[in-house]
């Protein structure tokens, strides 16, 4: 105490924070004396600072001091308060006397239940390796499973109930009646009644109403407090590491979208030309060896003599013999015994020949160009060809610039009435496939019969009678023309013309009437004639002997 007395008085005085009231074991016997609050009008100089000063009541409006009855509204309050001006955590000390630096991390009761915050957590613990670390046994597992299952089931059922139509309350709900006993009773409140009955009912919901509230995304909460990082900062990259992971920019052989100008050596660098070794298969060597061996064997098997004869007598003579051959090859066909002048002349002639050849080629090219205005390439050379046959056959590829009409559209026989047939009329083929050519060579008879109709005899409107002759030609068979033959005109072979030179008769005479081979051998006699030029029919009668007829076609074949 003497020491304390000798010390000077402290300059500042501190007020210790309010300590919580000690709750004694005795209950109601020892009560704290209730402080009496000065009545209204007598409160000058009175400043309530503690909870007791309020006397169980509220703040005093006539005292112009910040008042916190029941400690409400004080800004420095712990979580839940309206304004936290300083976010500090009280410094605390653990059992060993070390400061708890991890108090920041361990705020909140279940945030980061197990946090590693000390250096001891980093250090490898080898002594624990030999200790037994058994897995939890069956009982613990079952207990955990039960608890977990129950917790999860509660979540699931809650989620399902929200969706299940049976559990949802019907809208609007039935009215609920609540009996309410207000705290203040008296004649003035509630018109003297002690209790009130309140009817609670849900507002009826309009089913067609659009939703009243917008769903707004709420930003995420602050999250759990940061966890200490239990490793040293990552090592800096060594130069070797950086070099290992260096990737050159991609220079594509195909695309260059930014249009960079890249030097050629960079273009080729990543090509991989130098990177791949050309690997020659071993079997090439084996193959050549095998061939060599086979050749040797073949040579040996051929015999020693032959090879000796083929070999030259001496190596020098071989060389000598080779020399003039080499000269010949070098100098051209006439290297031996030719003077320089002759060689010059020959060269000039060759040059002239070459020039002429070149000129001819050029002329050919120019001709081709002049003929069509340009040199015909493969694509254009077929342009001027006539392809009407191909079109008829349906093989042409017609590429028409101007309007081109299919010729089958024109001159069609069907006409407008083609659509008037019934549905199932099979009129796809209205004409026969092959044109009937049998009518072509039908004898027409006389022209005027055709022109003026079949009944020409009776019908004489234009007075054609006067142009018909009174007398016809002699020898003409008019009846044959009238009865028009069914088929084409038949030609008759003239029997008198069968043997013009009288050869057959001659032969039969010579052999004494026996039918023998003629000079033509076994050729059939009496060649048939399809048509005799000028032979059939009368023609002039003047030329008796000089008549040229053709030998039968079959006769000529035999030769």
């Amino acid at each position: 105490m003497s020491l304390l007395a000798s010390l000077p008085a402290p300059v500042k005085t501190y007020t210790a924070p309010d300590a919580p009231a000690p709750t004694g074991p005795s209950g109601e016997e020892t009560r704290r004396p209730v402080k009496e609050v000065p009545p209204y009008g007598r409160r000058q100089g009175f400043v309530p600072r503690r909870v007791d000063d309020y006397g169980g009541g509220g703040a005093f409006p006539e005292i112009h001091v910040a008042q916190y009855p029941l400690e409400m509204g004080r800004p420095n309050q712990r979580p839940g308060g309206a304004g936290r001006t300083d976010q500090t955590v009280a410094l605390s000390v653990n059992a060993e006397g070390e400061v708890n630096y991890d108090a920041v991390v361990r705020q909140g009761k279940d945030a980061q239940k197990w946090v590693a915050t000390t250096h001891a957590a980093l250090v490898p613990k080898l002594e624990q390796l030999n200790s037994d670390m058994p897995r939890p046994d069956e009982e613990e597992v079952e207990a955990a499973a039960k608890e977990t299952a129950a917790a999860l089931q509660a979540v699931v059922s809650r989620k399902q109930a929200a969706v299940n139509p049976k559990t949802l309350p019907s809208q609007p709900g039935a009215p609920q009646y609540i009996k309410y006993t207000p705290a203040q009773s008296g004649g003035a409140h509630n018109s003297g009644a002690a209790t009130r009955i309140i009817k609670m009912q849900d507002m009826p919901v309009d089913p067609m109403e659009p939703p009243k509230f917008r769903h707004i995304k709420v930003p995420r909460g602050p999250g759990s407090p940061p966890v200490p990082v239990m490793h040293s900062p990552p090592r800096a990259l060594t130069v070797q590491d950086q070099a290992d992971w260096k990737i050159p920019p991609c220079i594509s052989n195909w695309k260059n979208s930014k249009g960079y100008t890249i030097p050629l050596d960079k273009r080729l660098a990543a090509d991989g030309r130098g990177l791949q070794e050309v690997q020659i298969n071993d079997q090439f060597a084996k193959f050549t060896e095998a061939l060599y061996i086979a050749e040797q064997k073949a040579r040996a098997s051929r015999g020693p003599g032959r090879s000796a004869a083929a070999a030259p007598s001496s190596p020098e003579s071989e060389a000598e013999r080779e020399l003039p051959a080499a000269h010949r090859v070098r100098d051209g066909p006439a290297a031996e015994g030719e003077t320089r002048a002759e060689r010059e002349e020959r060269r000039q002639r060759d040059e002239i020949r070459e020039e002429r050849r070149r000129e001819r080629e050029r002329e050919r090219r120019l001709e081709a160009r002049d003929a069509h205005g340009h040199k015909r390439s493969k694509l254009t050379r077929d342009r001027d060809r006539d392809i009407s046959e191909k079109i008829a056959l349906g093989q042409a590829k017609v590429s028409g610039g101007e309007a081109m009409y299919d010729q089958r559209l024109f001159n069609q026989d069907t006409g407008v009435g083609s659509g008037l047939a019934s549905e199932d009329a099979y009129n796809l083929y209205d004409k026969p496939l092959f044109a009937d050519r049998s009518e072509v060579f039908r004898s027409r008879g006389r022209q005027d019969e055709e022109v003026h109709g079949a009944g020409a005899g009776g019908d004489d409107a234009a007075g054609e009678r006067r142009f018909k002759p009174d007398k016809g030609f002699s020898g003409v068979d008019y009846g044959a023309a009238r009865d028009a033959a069914a088929g084409p005109v038949q030609f008759e072979a003239d029997a008198a013309q069968a043997d013009v030179f009288g050869l057959d008769a001659f032969l039969t005479d010579v052999r004494g009437g026996k039918r023998r081979e003629g000079p033509l051998g076994d050729a059939p006699r009496g060649g048939s004639m399809a048509a005799a030029g000028g032979g059939g029919g009368g023609g002039g009668g003047g030329d008796g002997g000089r008549r040229m007829d053709f030998v039968g076609a079959s006769g000529s074949k035999q030769r």
Binding site: A116, A121, L122, P124, M133, A144, L152, V155, V156, M230
Partner: protein, 232 residues
């Protein structure tokens, strides 16, 4: 069996037991569904990058997820909240596997394979060597053989207890494949633990078995316990 694919469908192939399951998606969310009613129970959000691996456990933490944001999260399935976040990895965590008998699990990424103790996710130790490849998947045996498969086709076999790699293997791409198509995307041991099945980048599924002709003389294992284990 449940399978999920990029066509955003989860298909259930054999419905013998109605179980709740979680699904890791290419997104950063894990969803927990009730299979019978097809109702989503929880949406386990919190990861900031792709969730690459997921494990289910019978007791807390019932779901363990690993993500490309270098964290592993342990979840409480009852509430759908994160129990713990493990930030020990320096690179994306791509593989998770839980030991069948021990209450531990291992996680693998491009930097390291780390072992953790359950249920709180306390860090135990790293493996003794580094594979130096992008590890895609992990699998562990009852015999204590941990296998890791990497993007470059290397398969390393580790001893679970010590973390020593006793064998390094390279897959062989099937004929017709390029050398760059050696890569392993998923692997699993069968129920007996004697066969390892790997799904690979050259479109093959390979099955591996133990080489019974190997003896300590033919395949010596040089293991010297290190004085200081690697801390990073």
């Amino acid at each position: 069996m449940f399978s999920c694919a990029l066509d955003k469908q989860v298909k259930c192939w054999d419905l013998e037991q109605n179980k709740v399951w979680g699904l890791a998606g290419l997104g950063d969310i894990c969803r927990v569904w009730d299979i019978r009613s097809k109702v989503q129970i929880h949406c386990l959000s919190g990861h900031e990058d792709t969730v690459s691996a997921i494990l289910g456990q019978p007791t807390d933490p019932q779901v363990i997820t690993a993500s490309h944001d270098k964290t592993i999260r342990l979840w409480d399935l009852r509430t759908g909240k994160t129990l713990s976040t493990l930030t020990y990895h320096k690179k994306a965590v791509r593989g998770l596997t839980a030991h069948p008998t021990e209450h531990t699990f291992a996680s693998g990424g491009a930097d390291n394979i780390k072992k953790f103790k359950l249920p709180r996710g306390e860090f135990l130790h790293n493996t003794l060597q580094q594979q130096r490849a992008i590890i895609n998947c992990l699998a562990v045996n009852e015999d204590g053989v941990l296998v890791s498969g990497a993007d470059n086709g290397s398969i390393w076999f580790w001893d679970w207890k010590s973390g020593n790699a006793f064998q390094q293997q390279e897959t062989v791409a099937q004929p017709g494949s390029l050398e760059s198509e050696q890569g392993i995307y998923a692997m699993a041991f069968d129920k007996t633990g004697s066969r390892l099945v790997t799904c690979e980048a050259d479109k093959t599924v390979k099955m591996w078995k133990e080489d019974f002709t190997a003896t300590p003389e033919s395949h010596p294992v040089n293991f010297k316990p290190p004085k200081d284990i690697r801390r990073f």
